[in-house]
């Protein structure tokens, strides 16, 4: 049992997928299925390093935000009527928050570098949060975005020398996949909400930025991951069955992720630098 639990595929994909599945299935009637994303992420964190927040390292700040986001998301889903300005505002706030996350590493750099890198990271996180958040009312599009953002960031991170970050991101992707699967099997949509989209957008953005800044992810791979939430908005005929929509949208978003992963793989072989 011990041997099985330390296997990376179990930690990063299998158990997070199951956690996402259980969360989606059981919490859907309560309109809380969006918590599937954090369920998957938290499962991986628990298995890989456990919940420890001291000292507060960069990755632990990401973990903390990943756990707070769904709580804020549930509050937002139930308490507010989201306005159109919400997504951009939260996006900007997330960008600012990312500077806090990376402060320890940014302050070690020359001012010019710190501003450039900090600005780039803030922009990437803001982008992913903003465009993923705007999918909060369409659970199939949200799921397709989460799946590709998670799996793409995760596989890229493994190639970029950090298996820990890779497992966290793949857990997000696996749980999103489970979220989609439940809808595909029942033929009915379940609420994704801000709980799901804020968590996936913020975590995918932060994990990608962490892999760039602390491991060996080339910056342009983040640029290639940017279109993922946009592709999740591809026009799809509404009369298609849920599973058909899920497959089509996931196919589109995963294609972008595959390109990103291929680029990391190439760069790690020293071919495209």
């Amino acid at each position: 049992m011990q041997d099985w639990l330390i296997h990376p595929v179990v930690q990063g994909a299998l158990l997070p997928f199951l956690a996402g599945l259980v969360a989606s299935a059981l919490l859907a009637p309560l309109r809380l299925a969006g918590l599937a994303a954090v369920a998957g992420f938290a499962t991986a964190v628990y298995l890989v390093v456990g919940f420890e927040f001291s000292p507060m390292t960069t990755i632990r700040k990401v973990m903390l935000l990943g756990l707070i986001a769904p709580v804020l998301g549930v509050a937002a889903d139930f308490a507010f009527k989201p306005k159109r300005a919400m997504a951009p505002l939260v996006a900007v706030a997330s960008g600012a928050l990312s500077v806090w996350v990376f402060l320890a590493v940014l302050t070690q750099k020359e001012l010019a570098d710190a501003l450039l890198i900090g600005g780039g990271i803030a922009a990437y996180v803001a982008w992913q949060v903003g465009f993923t958040l705007s999918l909060h009312e369409d659970s199939v599009r949200a799921g397709a975005a989460g799946l590709a953002l998670g799996m793409g960031t995760g596989v890229a991170a493994v190639f970029a020398a950090s298996a820990t970050l890779g497992l966290y991101a793949m857990a997000l992707g696996s749980a999103s996949g489970a979220f989609l699967l439940v809808q595909m099997l029942t033929g009915r949509r379940i609420l994704a909400g801000i709980a799901f989209t804020l968590t996936t957008g913020l975590l995918a953005g932060l994990l990608g930025a962490t892999t760039y800044h602390l491991a060996q992810l080339p910056w342009y791979v983040l640029a290639v991951m940017a279109p993922v939430p946009l592709l999740a908005r591809l026009p799809i005929p509404a009369k298609w069955p849920v599973w058909g929509q899920a497959v089509a949208l996931s196919g589109a978003t995963l294609t972008v992720s595959a390109v990103a992963c291929y680029l990391v793989w190439l760069s790690s072989r020293g071919i495209s630098e």
Binding site: T58, V105, A160, T164, L165, L214, S268, G270
Partner: protein, 195 residues
């Protein structure tokens, strides 16, 4: 007579102020922190940190001493530093957030303020290791110690070996346990030049 007595008394006074603390700087080309860790229960993987710097003070009369060593975590070297066809080499993996996270924690610091002596020879150092932002007590046993003038430069050198052990999980470095061991054996080989 008074002068003779005064002179004798003066000669008998303990030589206070003569043995003051001496301070030494580690020679970076002959001082290395080595470590060994179990691999999959089959073999031991050894490694070292190529770059470190530090100083120590020693007062053999008062039997006290202090030590401060800074190790550059990015200089970790285990013989597999060239990735070739793979996504990363072992040394690159060790620098990543999975292990030393050297982009965020470029330095590891060991500070000792308690030294145990056996006569004039230091035999144990008790101090704190700060790794990945976590500080924990680490004791090093001094297995070898010799102070003498360097055969060529004639400068005073103290050199030796010190050993210790730690559990990397206590510093938050949990990746790969137990496949890559939690228990890490430390060996420090050093030479220091008197300031």
């Amino acid at each position: 007579m008074k002068q003779i007595v005064a002179g004798l008394a003066f000669m008998l006074l303990p030589s206070a102020g003569v043995a003051s603390p001496e301070s030494y700087t580690f020679d970076p080309r002959h001082t290395f922190v080595h470590f060994g860790v179990d691999h999959n229960d089959f073999s031991t993987i050894w490694g070292r940190f190529d770059r470190s710097s530090g100083k120590f003070t020693i007062d053999r009369q008062a039997k006290t001493g202090t030590l401060e060593v800074v190790v550059e975590t990015a200089s970790v070297s285990t013989g597999d530093g060239v990735r070739g066809d793979r996504p990363r080499s072992r040394d690159e993996h060790l620098r990543s957030p999975d292990f030393f996270n050297s982009a965020e924690f470029p330095r590891m610091l060991y500070k000792a303020s308690t030294v145990k002596f056996n006569g004039e020879v230091p035999v144990e150092l008790q101090g704190q290791l700060t790794l990945l932002g976590v500080s924990r007590p680490v004791t090093l046993a001094v297995d070898r110690w010799k102070c003498a003038p360097h055969a060529v430069t004639k400068r005073m050198i103290c050199g030796g070996n010190a050993t210790g052990a730690l559990k990397r999980s206590e510093y938050g470095m949990k990746w790969g346990i137990p496949a890559t061991g939690d228990d890490v054996k430390i060996l420090v080989t050093f030479e220091a030049i008197k300031d």
